[in-house]
Symmetry: D2
Subunit: 339 residues, 4 copies
Amino acid sequence: MIVILRDDPNEKQLENLINWLRSMDLKIHESRGENHRILGLVGDTSRVDIDLISALDIVREVKRIQEPYKKANRKFHPLDTVVSTGGAAFGGGHFAVVAGPGAVESGEQMSLAARIALDAGADILYGGTFMPRTSPYSFQGLREEGMDILVKAGKEAGLPVASEITDLHELGCFDDVDVIQVGARNMQNYELLRELGRLNKPVILKRGLSSTLQEWLMSAEYILDGGNENVILCERGIRTFEPSAYASMDISSIPILRALTHLPVIADPCGAAGRSAPVPAMAAAAAAAGADGLALTVSPDPQHARAEGPQSLTGSEMKKTVAAVRRVREALREETRDE
Amino acid sequence: MIVILRDDPNEKQLENLINWLRSMDLKIHESRGENHRILGLVGDTSRVDIDLISALDIVREVKRIQEPYKKANRKFHPLDTVVSTGGAAFGGGHFAVVAGPGAVESGEQMSLAARIALDAGADILYGGTFMPRTSPYSFQGLREEGMDILVKAGKEAGLPVASEITDLHELGCFDDVDVIQVGARNMQNYELLRELGRLNKPVILKRGLSSTLQEWLMSAEYILDGGNENVILCERGIRTFEPSAYASMDISSIPILRALTHLPVIADPCGAAGRSAPVPAMAAAAAAAGADGLALTVSPDPQHARAEGPQSLTGSEMKKTVAAVRRVREALREETRDE
Amino acid sequence: MIVILRDDPNEKQLENLINWLRSMDLKIHESRGENHRILGLVGDTSRVDIDLISALDIVREVKRIQEPYKKANRKFHPLDTVVSTGGAAFGGGHFAVVAGPGAVESGEQMSLAARIALDAGADILYGGTFMPRTSPYSFQGLREEGMDILVKAGKEAGLPVASEITDLHELGCFDDVDVIQVGARNMQNYELLRELGRLNKPVILKRGLSSTLQEWLMSAEYILDGGNENVILCERGIRTFEPSAYASMDISSIPILRALTHLPVIADPCGAAGRSAPVPAMAAAAAAAGADGLALTVSPDPQHARAEGPQSLTGSEMKKTVAAVRRVREALREETRDE
Amino acid sequence: MIVILRDDPNEKQLENLINWLRSMDLKIHESRGENHRILGLVGDTSRVDIDLISALDIVREVKRIQEPYKKANRKFHPLDTVVSTGGAAFGGGHFAVVAGPGAVESGEQMSLAARIALDAGADILYGGTFMPRTSPYSFQGLREEGMDILVKAGKEAGLPVASEITDLHELGCFDDVDVIQVGARNMQNYELLRELGRLNKPVILKRGLSSTLQEWLMSAEYILDGGNENVILCERGIRTFEPSAYASMDISSIPILRALTHLPVIADPCGAAGRSAPVPAMAAAAAAAGADGLALTVSPDPQHARAEGPQSLTGSEMKKTVAAVRRVREALREETRDE
């Protein structure tokens, strides 16, 4: 961490700052020029609150060199983390597909959805139960009842199941769920993240619509810091000015995260686009960019789905998409083999 | 609501759609040209899920004419809502200031903060207790203990108090709090909003960093729909590419919301800027744009505040800011008087 | 085009509007409900200025159904446009790579760059001559002199050459240049676009940092409308809040443009990322998403390049990247073959 | 400028870097810790290209302390620049209003517009002549002919005139124009800026839709560096995700620019909003935030304006707006007086 001081800092205040920093076991190196004076801090700065120092009159700017996340940081954990459940695994060369309908609607619908998803290449069955909806007048999900249906459908199909949690108090309903998803709107629901850190279950942490990579990794850090290392990051697009898609999938986040963190990164092209047409191309792109998996919305009948119909693939669309994705991955593996 | 059909829609599917819409008590008017066919829907469309229709093969696009929010809509509620607590009131010509430190730190600090805020023109005392922090390693707030300190400081100063809730389960700690704040990160925490809708207490609903005005009003609708009409909207900036401020205060949101909704709208220039220097100018601008109040971060000692120090005004800065704001409001009131 | 009227429109004004629309050879269909009145306009609406109608008191909103671009529209030109020069072709299944250094620096540097680019799989040699630089104090390019060097290097290597134009008056220097590039900052320099429309040379039109797909296509329309059909669209990222890359490559723009327009679309991962590390992954992603080509910055010595060094690939990095891209394309072609 | 080195930098490369920096008359101070090594550069770094250093393998990051603009920098020019023409002046406590129609349409229209603008409080008459239009099918302006009409209307009304230039080659038509406007789309048209730097005329430089404050000031630097010190910055909104306005007026840019630069800053609420309803509130807000002037679109007949009708104020709307703005300024001047 580097502290850039203002011109002519009050020496008394500077002494106080230096003493306080030393009390946190940091070593201080000073660099002094005609126009600037800089303190270089050496030691574990992840627990130093950058705002506390920035607020001082004598400080012009504080700049981190070390990232503020530690447990999610590849620097301190160079090997890829592999997150697995049932037969599915993400990261370290493993690739898996989570797929299912936006909403669990009925037993029949989920049975059918599970068969379609399995046939199309899903490794984990998703179903929306507790659903965060922009409008209070939209269908809010079958909730507890939906969870029972989902779990049953997963068992029938022999697939682990995943669903989204929207509030801490729902946690009791997730006992039989294999993977807990935290949606974009809850990426910074720290009370929830802290609690998920106490579990030992995989958590898919979707990127918030306006979250930087660093904020996202800090949210992952909440879960990791609690002791749960099974975090899967899911890129689902960021909000931009472009109206042709619900959100703009940030494709460079995949290779950039690969360098910053050891956690697996998957992509959710359906959620990003908000409609199905561009999804096959986006799914192939995510795989080519190095994603460790995909989250796909698939429905036996997208036209009559009670939620997320426009972004849902049909079974046959998903099947083609997953097949193409696997060929892309194979093509890029060859690359490594050849070298 | 207008449904724009694709060219040559399947007549069977179209009949199904029309029958379904009629079953929701909507009247349908068809417009047909060479290149387009359009259904105009007449009736209460706020309960129609736009996605359900958009997903149909025969539909090209669906366009709302009526806004999807009803209880927050000025059209159905032309008079300004006035939200009041203690002596403070927002809306309908009333203007109030909520101010206090980002974090409650101790009894002494809050006593001092309350005196400073009161002297500088605060109508409601704010103190952060349950604090949503980007880093798990930052100070997380004094929580329950902080709430007692805040309530006590408010009583001493004779001011109503406000604090932020970050999760449903904290609600029990807010019994003696006069105004509950929902922060930007929780603007779409619908479980929480629904619960706040069951109370009869003023709720300050901050705008999410990447929320459109419509999404924000839909979140207000959750609270209003539960029966709580005491919602105060708080503009605290949107996330943009510009790095010179934490968020870009969206000044035109104030007059635009004024037309769309009857709810009071206040602004949080400290939270938007993330540092105090531009705050006096931004506060005056918000008042000039028609805001019904301000939320300000004020601290007896910004340089040593445990949170939000860089964005905190000192007491004397706040006092000047509030005085200028009141003069701006006076100047604009003259305008009305003169006409 | 649909004109949504305000409640109780002034009948005289409405009559005026209808007469004016009819005078432009448009047929009008009216749809009338309790709460809305809509005019559906049938005919060629691409020449109707949406703002002219929106400004009327009696009009609530105007919504285009037909896109405002005509010559770039796939609807009126269903087959892919193939743009070719020398042996390189873009679109209609053809894929080509434009590569070279950000700045032409000297004869030796360009000779070397040309050999490296050719060896790594470039089809067209790029070199920056007239350079738009954010700072007046940065190297501004060798201009005319650089153009001669570029053309010579292209001849030696047997490659067509491309360079960026930054102002109309430079056009005379582009006689021996095979492909003219319009940079992001000039995407809406309409005087320049109009002039390029009079040529018969391929134009690479980069997307502006904050341009929507529709604005970008409207800029292409300027060139097409002048009679030059050789337009290649180049996605080079949009400006967002995310600081980890210079711009966020908007991957879904590729499949979405594919549906909207017949023009070839290429991607510029180096320009988007602003640094080389994520480029190989982004290039593979662009190809997987269906891009018709790539623009790559390559340098014999990125560390000492006078411009765009951080985003430059070395020759060997480019070679691996292009090889991987070709394998991805092959893998996705298989898909089609299998079905 | 601070150069943060990577761990264990190659000593040979480091020596080369240090020698090169010294050759630019910079002094180097090294700070060395366990985990970092930093070079602090002292001297005039505005001519150092940050990219050149960033591209080096041994460099982790480069951070400017001194801003890259020099002539626009308040640090080196502490007093406010006052830009004046005719009786109008901007900056240093002076406030002026530029107003007129989006397009010059005819002699009668401009005569009328000039009278209305003058009556409503305009200090400079604006008229669009060379018009950058998103669509090639929209009205493109009367160009040379429009310029004559504008100049004549200005003379009649006794007002200096302003118009927008869209390309270098139009410069000859601006001889009788008092203020040259560079629109948002041309903010980074450096060839144009350089040429305007050779004049001695006031230039209104609008902010590009996706330009940071620093990029904007760098564009001003092009003009200043050429010797023309009469630059007026005009905030006209930035592109964000919010659809309720054409662009989001970035209100905090006004106080932040005030600190960074000595140049006057005005605001264009009509251009930002894209429609007139929120303009009076936004204009008052800009004045309250400290703007040195306003650019307003005013039309004798907004409903039938050939361009920018929706954003145009009527004469009486403008009159009320300007009166309110002047009262706000008066109210804030009192503040200073009282202290």
